[in-house]
Subunit: 315 residues, 2 copies
DNA sequence: TTCCAGCTATAGGTAGCAGCTATAGGACAT
DNA sequence: ATGTCCTATAGCTGCTACCTATAGCTGGAA
């Protein structure tokens, strides 16, 4: 078994296509075919089903893929820890972040991080909280941003912020005021996440507290999709306020504060307790905190920074 | 970075000596030296301190060693899990089967399969023939049991059995004999599947052959539901004989043979021609055939086997 | 149906590299 | 000093991963 074979295998699995995979790893398609063939022969079974248009993993391929990915990741880390020891500010940092937090926090965060560590290859995945957790546990992520409280024996968490949830309705929908009680939700058609999502559970728990049974007219798993549906008038929804604010411009939406009680949830950093955290990870966490503090003391900052190019063009 | 380099590195770290390590990995000492040198050059640092008599890991070497070992272990496991799959020591098999066939064939089939492959996770879905086909095409099923003939370019089929269809009527309904001509159907209110089901089409085709226009009083998509409706006196129905026999006990139904002609349809195994079939799938197909043969030569067998525990308790 | 586009597998030739043996060169023990 | 034990270097050889060209297959369009 050769490392080359593993890399080619991963490329084919990712692209579901030999030719694209070949381009991606910068070899010709026949070379890649031969290597995959060799690997399959060595293992004694097909790893891919060549189904004409598409190539998909066989069951053996899927099993192999799990461990192959981890192996490559370990080798990555092996190299990285050495580089960090040498004091070189290079390497890779893979972050998993809640899609909602991703929208308002990540942009300024990434820009600060990149400024300080221009040679670190930063990779951010927007995911549901549960995916962040599984990503950390399976070692695919270096650090995660997810919902708290999170009590997992292998994970350490650091609180980062509290997100207030707010009601979002189509601009045309007549809510009647700029603030709404939780009880008012009973009257509204709602677009929420599927039931296995934390945010949905949280909303339902708050509703239960207020003695309200929400009318769910549509379930979508991405907050982005939910906002779209709301903008089209399908119903109202409940999402983190900061997230919605970052999305408001250009969408026909109204943001309504919820109170009595105001639903909120905690967000924090998480990482595998036993894993060696490199300089990059530590600094990322620190920058998370400072960025967060700045955002809260001056919520406009990130938006003022964004359209820098347009502002320059206007002068 | 090459896998070979990692292996040599591990050997040197274990033996603290290049020459011994070289013997251990079956290469000459210079070859091994060169590989280690290459690795060190790539990482930009020494991994070993050559202390004359002895060789010890540097700090960088120790950090590298941790992850390198894990990487190798993952690769080991990658190979291991594939081998276990090949030996049917793990894996899963997803089968789609006609609901009717499901009732009499699957119980003994599953019990045999589980006995032979206790470590394979078996999943059986009772579905209409069309769903089995689409399940196979979309790669959700590993193997299917559906109606024949089935001419799809991507599917291979293997005939398994011929099902005779029989008339089923409420116990109270006066049919007048134990056998009925197809023509006799004209007089009976019938509960049949919806028109887009194969079984319905089949029945209509047979009726047309006999010059009969069936009176359909109710359409239901599940054979189980149809039998319930029949037992309640809604009408008679036509279903595979073996299926009905497996359901007869405890239901107020009469089973009447049809002839002139006896409607029958073929049932077979189907799978994606180009897909790799693992040992589990092949064996499942084989067990299908043997179980089928046993059932036909001794239709009571499956029922005799079932209540083994009760029989033991009675002695 | 036929044809074309897109894909993977095979064939044959080339170059790069891991392998070898022989040997140089350094560290330690006697 | 000198022999022993070790790693590094030199020079050669054979394996193989790579390339281009092309065959063979499949699925969709005309």
């Amino acid at each position: 078994m050769e490392l080359r074979q593993i890399e080619y295998f991963m490329a084919v699995a990712a692209h579901q296509n030999f030719s694209r995979a070949a381009e991606h790893v910068h070899v010709s398609q026949p070379s890649l075919s031969i290597q995959i063939g060799g690997l399959e022969k060595e293992l004694g079974t097909r790893l891919f089903d060549r189904l004409g248009r598409k190539v998909v993993l066989t069951q053996a391929g899927e099993l192999f893929h799990v461990h192959a990915e981890r192996a490559l990741r370990e080798l990555d880390q092996a190299e990285q820890v050495v580089q960090e020891l040498l004091g070189a500010k290079r390497g890779r940092l893979v972050v998993g972040a809640l899609s909602t937090v991703n929208s308002y926090l990540i942009a300024p965060l990434v820009s600060r991080f990149k400024q300080r560590f221009p040679d670190i290859h930063l990779q951010v995945h927007a995911q549901a909280s549960a995916d962040v957790v599984s990503g950390l546990l399976s070692n695919r992520l270096d650090i995660g941003i997810c919902l708290l409280p999170l009590t997992h024996p292998q994970l350490t968490t650091v609180p980062l912020l509290e997100e207030r949830l707010a009601l979002v309705a189509p601009a045309g929908m007549n809510i009647g005021k700029r603030r709404a009680r939780m009880q008012d939700l009973a009257r509204l058609p709602l677009v929420l996440m599927p039931v296995d999502y934390c945010l949905r559970k949280m909303v339902e728990a708050e509703c239960a507290k207020a003695g309200v049974h929400p009318q769910v007219v549509l379930e979508m798993s991405s907050p982005e999709g939910i906002l779209q549906a709301v903008a089209e008038g399908t119903g109202a929804t409940i999402l983190p306020e900061l997230y919605v604010r970052s999305r408001l411009p250009g969408m026909d939406l109204q943001l309504i504060d919820l109170y009595d009680p105001t639903p909120r949830h905690a967000v924090g950093l998480a990482y595998l307790t036993k894993r060696h955290r490199g300089l990059a990870a530590e600094e990322f966490a620190a920058i998370c905190h400072t960025t967060m503090r700045d955002l809260q003391s001056d919520p406009e900052r990130s938006r003022r920074n964004r359209p820098r190019r347009r502002a320059a063009g206007q002068k």
